[in-house]
């Protein structure tokens, strides 16, 4: 299972911060978003917002990067701390 993490307002859209997905073969980040979009169009379109960044196992990646089973993919909306 790949672990998906939705931070900030994406967690509200996804109905929770964490979700698991079984990947029988590697998916690009884009393809994975496509899978999510098929189930929830609102979430899907939020995930392709140009300001969303993607972190694979803790490192920022682009949408062409392949996600495998056992990977952790995080969706990072604009941050705000302090």
């Amino acid at each position: 299972m790949a672990k998906l993490l939705f931070f900030g307002r994406l967690g509200d859209l996804a109905g929770g911060i964490e979700r698991s997905i079984s990947l029988s073969e590697p998916h690009s980040v884009s393809a994975l978003i496509g899978v999510l979009e098929a189930g929830d169009q609102l979430l899907g379109s939020a995930l392709v917002d140009p300001r969303i960044r993607y972190a694979l196992n803790g490192a920022i990646v682009d949408r062409e990067t392949l996600v495998e089973d056992d990977d952790e993919l995080a969706f990072l909306p604009p941050v705000s701390g302090g």
């Binding site: 993490l5 307002r9 909306p77 604009p78 941050v79 705000s80 302090g82």
Partner: protein, 157 residues
Amino acid sequence: MLRRVTIAAAPFDPEAEIAAFRKALDDSGAIVTFTGQVRPSNGGGSVSTLSLQHYPGMTERGIEAMLDQVAERWPLEAVLVIHRVGDMGPHDPIVLVATASAHRRAAFEAADFLMDYLKSRALFWKSETSASGKLWIEPRDEDYADAARWDASPGGR
């Protein structure tokens, strides 16, 4: 450079932390601190709860990488970063940054730099819950502009 980074899930006491930070110093003559706390009202209605979320592991690594930059740019003896996560009420401390150096310019600039990073680039997500519901907060334009000041001048301002 002595350094400590803490992501705190429970309330912390800024002055106790500053006292401990200062006590550990050897040759510093200048200590700058920044404390950020929850404002009772943020523009419109009164805020009942402010919530901060982070990405455990990645958030800390981002701050540590920023401290590597700080250590290269300024001659500091020590730096401290404490950042709350979870739910906070009015006047609760959110963040503490402390810097110590021989002379004051380095301490001021490094604290200023770290706060700009923490406000607009570190991996935190902030929401406010008030009578009118939950609102995710994004940095103000000013926060982005503040952070960008440091990109243009690798040697400090």
